[in-house]
Amino acid sequence: MAKRLAAYVVVLFAATLINFVIPRLIPGDPIRVVIARLEMRGRQGFSEDLVLQYTHMFGLDKDLFTQFTNYMTQMLRGNLGLSISWFPSSVQEVIGRALPWTLYLMFTSVIISWVIGNVLGAIIGWQRDSKLARAILPAALVLGTIPYYMLAISLAFFFAYTIPLFPATGSSSIGIIWHGISLGYIADLIWHSVLPVLSIVISSVGWWMMSMKAMIANVLGEDYIMLARAKGMKTSVILRKYALRNALLPQVTGLAMTIGQTMSGALLTEVVFAYPGLGWLLYNAITNLDYPVIQGVVLLIIFTISTAVLLMDLLYPIIDPRIRYGEK
């Protein structure tokens, strides 16, 4: 337990360090470089004074160690610096606006695909040779390997352009003024999220289904299932109490393991739909060379995922009675 917490802290520290070090590896004065690039793209108004100001603001006139300590203290206070492309907003403001959308997207897609995938996987795994399996499995295989954003593009084409069923971009329709939470507003939000969520769900379902099928197939070979049948228990009860409970455990840990992957995919999907989450933010920041934002988002992602994994590590012993009560 302590080892895990220690590892967690080490990871975060390493991440912060990397975050800090990498930009400073670029030769040359970063401020001038960025300004030069921005000027190339037509943004004007940068004077020598401004350069000095920025250098001081970003603490680049101090030595490396002080810089790092400053960085750490600022970061722990939640101050991630100022955004270049959305100046004068701070990085944390910008991230704060984008974060909820990404969380919503991820949460919804993961839950939907996990549940559906596991149910389908259980059904297919239980029947030894089902027609359902033969029909779905190849499709699941193909769809599972395609990255989310590619599915997103296809879906966008078919359902936002060819047959304009869903909106192509954004999380809410333009022109809607915030009157407070109303049913209409929520409906609009959901409508806008259908395609992005669908992209992730279609791809992930395949993966959950195949892993659940494998799990169930494994469990079915176990002796306690045979005994359950011998006891004359109803098949549905056996499936529920004996097979599923054992097969679901690894699926739950699987959630934690794949959360990094899912998040990466979700970010790219946002780009396709200009869905204003962290992915879209990152994309724009990259285009604008907004390093503070890039660093901030990367840091946040690393933090979120590490925390999720840690939580899962802590939760797992609670749900698995073998670990909870220890091996005697």
Partner: protein
């Protein structure tokens, strides 16, 4: 070395078994097919496919002039596709190769040395595993001024070895305790001899799975990075093709060939790799195969 090959050849039935598995066969055939087509196609180009404005832009597919149409900046998509596939495959294989070798070494050393070396290497591996790759890759990529294919490969290698190292280490640890290794030790074999003669042939299937898995990951990661605009700028890859498609709004201009082409190409490659992987898994664990009866 000779003895290593001997040990491998003793399992000559193994090679046959590998090819007999339908999945592996299908996967490899598809993969090789794609490679050959792309190599051939790239060399057959009568002009530089990357040059902008060679053709009228945004033309839909027509036979025989532009089988896959042209993109928004006047390039023929078919030849663009050939080169993209070639580049993406190159990146995938290179990363897979180096990553697997590196991972194999780290895993073996870690498992066989034990003690401090093991702890240190394992911690590093774990960190590399837990840290989500895409954000860090994005970070690194965005910092680098000019990205070439070789740069891409180097960047991806950073993360590619972690998973392999972990699996290999786990497998080596379990094999290390097995009876046949004890026999070897008793008969006086040196440490390295044991590793090469006894342990490694047993791990071939794992190495194989890791190789193709890493290749899968590398191609996906490259596509993702390129899609965001962080890909090799001097040439085209499948991810780059998607980047351009997205940037020039091919979706909403109805230019389905611009985005469908790279997607189909990547899907085919990825499915092929995945098939090889599960096929290898089946061969390595015959129990799974038997359940299908």
């Amino acid at each position: 070395m000779v003895r290593f090959l001997e040990a491998l050849r003793k399992r000559s039935g193994f090679a046959n078994e590998l090819l007999r598995n339908r999945k592996i066969l299908a996967g490899i055939v598809i993969f090789l097919g794609m490679s050959l087509i792309s190599v051939a196609g790239s060399y057959l180009a009568p002009y530089n496919p990357m040059r902008l404005g060679t053709f009228p832009p945004e033309m839909p597919p027509s036979f025989p002039a532009h089988i896959l149409g042209t993109d928004s900046i006047g390039r023929d998509l078919l030849f663009l596709l050939f080169i993209s596939i070639l580049n993406s495959l190159q990146i995938g294989l290179a990363v897979a190769g180096f990553g697997t070798i590196f991972g194999l070494l780290v895993g073996l050393i870690s498992a066989y040395s034990g003690g401090f070396t093991d702890s240190a290497l394992s911690t590093v591996t774990d960190i590399a595993l837990v840290v989500p790759m895409l954000p860090v890759l994005i970070l690194v990529s965005s910092m680098i001024r000019v990205v070439e294919i070789s740069t891409m490969i180097l960047i991806l290698i950073i993360f590619s070895w972690a998973w392999t190292s972990r699996t290999i280490r786990a497998q080596t640890l379990s094999l290390k305790e097995r009876d046949f290794v004890y026999m070897a030790k008793l008969s006086g074999m040196g440490r390295f001899e044991i590793v090469f003669r006894e342990i490694t042939p047993n791990m071939i299937s794992y190495v194989g799975v890791n190789f193709f898995g890493t290749c899968f990951w590398a191609i996906t990661a490259e596509a993702g990075l390129s899609f965001l605009g962080l890909g090799p700028q001097t040439t085209t890859t499948l991810g780059n093709m998607l980047y351009w498609a997205q940037n020039y709004s091919s979706i909403y201009k109805g230019l389905w060939w611009a985005w469908a082409t790279p997607i189909v190409a990547i899907s085919v490659i990825l499915v092929a790799l995945y098939l090889v992987n599960i096929g290898l898994d089946e061969v390595a664990n015959p129990k799974l195969a038997r359940q299908r009866l």
